[in-house]
């Protein structure tokens, strides 16, 4: 039985020319796990907001929405509050009260349950989600992952039949995200709650999903099991295919027809696309069996690396020690690091290992209690702030919103040059240059807060670049971005590096991004760099902390870290034959 049905839903925001949703028809069965995919701005969030009356945006709407057979607008708000749960993107903003237990009870209080019932439900939820240990804590003491889990638990306390999640993990680090998604799957499996989830970590969610719905430009382009959707997207040559898991992309890149003999397949059954790394490995084994494998490794990019090694380093850290307070433990322990001009250096590693603190140290926001930090051969504290921040360093904050001041993008860019005593023409030139570089042309009249996450990131980058920094420092630049925006950001950074010789230092959880774009990667652990190396050498040396393409291919290829690498190696081996 369908729990929720949408029939021919068309919607446009007031005064918008384009339709946000056009002719959406979707039926969600009871107990189903549906994953909604699509690039940012494709209408995913708008569609999800139509599943609940109080969250439905204002605008022109036609079409029908049915919840358990009743028109949604006729279902009372009380019933909707209890039966349809909704988890939003930002873990912090959803928390209303100061104590964990109060937050858990919030929805139940609204629905007017008595104390005994609330006590029971809250207790149940705290036990199910493993919250007992921090039940009486203040919400400010929780980590991002715990906060999002609390949001989920406080919704689940209402015992909803339908759970809607709008990119719930986009602000979390990979480990917390994978825990969270695991909990969602568990809820779906154990309680039979219907789940509709929009997400861009497909590798995590697709394996467990009953159905993947792909949206583009406000329409549904494909809605089927993940494997079939992969098939359809590939057949269409759709952009969204870049968002699919690495194994799928590798298969598409190598060519699926060569993989299995046509005789082994029935004509109407879909191609068994590998979704997980395990399936990918199996596919690769099959593909390689019967082939002579001459090429096991890609040639290293040696030339450029040796070049850079001769130059004087732009940032040096020598045996740096740091702690936030005398009584607190050391965060950075004897860190030594050299960054050569023009390279892109990525620091990866777990939470709380001191990655972000390292960036703070380099940018002079905090000072070490032992050791030396030099920028261009001069100690950081020797610089006056103006030269340091407006000519040498460009530091991009983790939250781009902390840079936006004006009411539209163009004004916001000019605002950055307000205090500079340079002629108007030069200001115009500089602004035009960064607009072209960061592809902001179409967004100039928009309010910074109306931009999507990826666009905000680009605007923040543009603002920083107006200062013409020589060293760019980025803290988690890919947080919350989908694959499409990540690639775009990566290309921009590469361009900066090549054309303007900018040195880039980056901290990231995103191993796929680092593998693809970095010149050198370093693994941070316990306040120090454990190893550094070129991405190929670095990631093929790790067995857990590495990309899925590498995990899929490490048993047959030596140093393939991105999907492209694997495809290239496969092709090299076919050409030989």
């Amino acid at each position: 039985m369908a729990i929720f049905e949408i029939k021919h839903l068309t919607f446009s925001y007031p005064e918008a020319e384009k339709r946000a949703l056009s002719d959406i028809t979707l039926s969600v069965k009871e107990g189903e796990f549906v994953v909604l995919c699509g690039a940012s701005g494709c209408g995913k969030s708008t569609l999800l907001r139509h599943f609940k009356t109080v969250l439905t945006p204002h605008g022109d709407r036609t079409g029908e929405r049915l919840f358990k057979g009743d028109p949604l607008d006729a279902v009372s708000e009380r019933r909707q509050s209890g039966e349809i749960g909704y988890v939003l993107q930002n873990p912090d903003n959803q928390i209303v009260t100061d104590k964990v237990w109060h937050e858990l009870a919030f929805g139940l209080e609204s629905l007017g349950y008595d104390n005994a019932t609330i006590r029971l439900r809250v207790a149940e939820m705290a036990s199910y989600f493993g919250i007992q240990d921090w039940f009486k804590k203040n919400v400010t003491e929780l980590s991002g992952g715990q906060k999002q889990l609390l949001n989920l638990a406080s919704i689940m306390a209402l015992q909803p039949d339908l759970l809607i999640l709008d990119e719930p993990t986009s602000q979390l680090d990979p480990i917390a995200a994978s825990d969270f998604l695991g909990t969602i799957k568990k809820i779906n499996r154990d309680l039979g709650t219907t789940v509709i989830l929009s997400e861009h970590r497909f590798e995590e969610v697709l394996p467990g999903a009953d159905r993947a719905v792909v949206m583009d430009g406000g329409r549904i382009v494909a809605a089927d099991t993940p494997r079939r959707v992969g098939d359809e997207l590939e057949a269409m040559g759709h952009d969204m295919f870049v968002a699919m898991p690495a194994p799928m992309q590798i298969v598409a890149g190598v060519g699926k027809n060569q993989a299995t003999e046509p005789s082994a397949r029935k004509d109407d059954s879909p191609f068994p696309w590998p979704i997980t790394v395990r399936e990918g490995r199996r596919w690769l084994d099959q593909w390689l069996s019967g082939r002579k494998v001459d090429h096991r490794a890609l040639p290293e990019r040696t030339a450029s690396e040796q070049q850079t090694e001769d130059k004087a380093p732009v940032v040096t850290m020598k045996e740096v020690w740091f702690k936030y307070d005398r009584t607190l433990p050391d965060v950075i322990r004897g860190l030594t690091l050299n960054i050569v001009p023009g390279e892109m250096f990525c620091i990866v590693g777990g939470n709380g290992t001191g990655k972000s603190t390292t960036l703070k140290l380099i940018s002079g926001l905090v000072r070490p209690y032992r050791g030396k930090i030099k920028i261009m051969g001069k100690p950081v504290k020797g610089f006056d702030r103006e030269t340091l921040y407006q000519q040498i360093l460009g530091v991009m904050p983790q939250n781009p919103q902390s840079l936006f001041i004006k009411k539209n993008v163009e004004l916001d860019l000019y605002e950055m040059l307000e205090e500079k005593k340079i002629p108007i023409e030069e200001k115009d030139d500089r602004v035009d240059e960064v607009i072209a570089l960061t592809h902001l042309e179409d967004l100039l009249a928009r309010h910074p807060y109306d931009l999507s996450g990826g666009e905000q990131q680009r605007l923040a980058l543009a603002k920083i670049l107006l200062m013409k920094p020589q060293v760019l420092i980025l803290d988690e630049p890919t947080k919350g971005l989908d694959n499409h925006y990540k690639l775009e950001l990566g290309e921009i950074l590469k361009h900066l590096q090549k054309e303007q010789g900018v040195t880039i230092i980056m901290v990231s959880h995103d191993v796929e991004f680092c593998a693809r774009f970095a010149d050198r990667c370093g693994l941070f652990f316990d306040g120090n760099l454990v190893t550094t190396g070129s991405p190929r050498a670095f990631f093929s040396g790790n067995s857990f902390y590495t990309t899925s393409a590498n995990r899929m291919s490490r048993h047959c290829f030596e140093n393939a870290v991105t999907a492209e690498d694997v495809i290239a190696l496969c092709k090299m081996n076919t050409q030989q034959k």
Binding site: S81, V96, D98, A105, L108, G112, Q390, S402
Partner: protein, 297 residues
């Protein structure tokens, strides 16, 4: 040390502090003063631990006691027992010195009691108590307590972000600093308003605004709360009786007079002492019970 009294029902906690604070503030009979001071200091020793409490009492309170006690005779020259003259010719009287000490003791008592109050009456207890009276207020208080730290963190993030583009509130001339400060504030306000939309959505999605909202609490009124409450009430009533009977009367100017120590008044003071030491007694009883449990295991 985990204080046992703090695990009692908020009503009990609040009743206790309301009584001791009011009595400390309004009655300056030496017996009341002495008892209150002893009670407050002992309880702070139990709550804050010996080291912190001694530091707080000796380093913070003792100089204040001396200061207040000295200031009074400087300005107050009333009283019949003259013991000397200031260089200005004004008399120094014994009454004004004594009254200075009395005021200082009162002052310190209240501060020490409040230090104890802050450790025991956490925000959630306060919210719970006042939420009973005005339910809407309890949610608002809870939200305020949620948003103040949140905004503080965000302000720090924004300040650092601005600092990294060379806009510091600590350097440059006055106008520049003021402008940078206003920038930070402006970013902060935009951020707060934009993100409040999410919070509003999250509240609506969980049915906020429906009729008949209840107020959940994790507190229960047990038998032990009843017992302790009853004991406290009996003590309170007997002390009140004594006060109404004029046993707390004291006057320091122009001559020092206070109600005499009689068997009746001493029993009232004992009741007050018992009241003040209630939490400490509860702690001790709990501790003894633990010991006996442990030894029986």
């Amino acid at each position: 040390m985990e204080d046992a009294f703090s695990t009692y029902h908020p009503v009990i906690n609040f009743f206790y502090f309301a009584v001791v604070l009011l009595f400390s503030m309004f009655f300056n009979h030496p017996a009341f003063l002495g008892i209150s001071l002893i009670g407050a200091v002992i309880y702070s020793l139990v709550l804050l631990g010996i080291r912190r409490s001694l530091k707080f009492n000796l380093v913070g309170m003792l100089p204040m006691l001396l200061l207040v006690a000295l200031i009074n005779p400087l300005f107050n020259h009333g009283g019949v027992t003259i013991i000397g003259y200031w260089p200005t010719g004004n008399p120094i009287t014994m009454e004004s010195i004594v009254y200075g000490v009395v005021m200082a003791v009162m002052f310190i008592e209240v501060i020490v009691w409040f230090a104890c109050y802050n450790t025991i009456m956490t925000s959630d207890k306060f919210i719970y108590l006042f939420g009973r009276v005005i339910p809407a207020l309890s949610l608002i208080l809870s939200m305020v307590l949620r948003f103040v730290p949140k905004f503080k963190t965000q302000l720090k993030i924004i300040t650092q972000g601005q600092q990294c583009i060379g806009r510091d509130i600590h350097s440059g001339n006055f106008f520049r600093r003021a402008r940078n400060g206003i920038h930070i504030l402006s970013i902060m306000i935009t951020w707060a308003l934009e993100n409040a939309i999410d919070t509003a959505d999250s509240m609506k999605a969980r049915g906020y605004g429906l009729k008949g909202r209840t107020s959940f609490s994790i507190f229960t009124f047990d038998t032990r709360d009843k017992i302790v409450g009853a004991v406290m009430l009996v003590l309170f009533i007997s002390v009140c009786g004594g006060i109404i009977g004029g046993l707390a009367y004291a006057s320091y100017n122009p001559i020092i007079r206070f109600s005499a120590f009689t068997p009746l008044s001493i029993s009232v003071y004992t009741a007050y002492l018992a009241f003040c030491l209630m939490p400490v007694c509860v702690d001790i009883i709990e501790e003894l019970q633990w010991r006996s449990l442990k030894s029986s295991i």
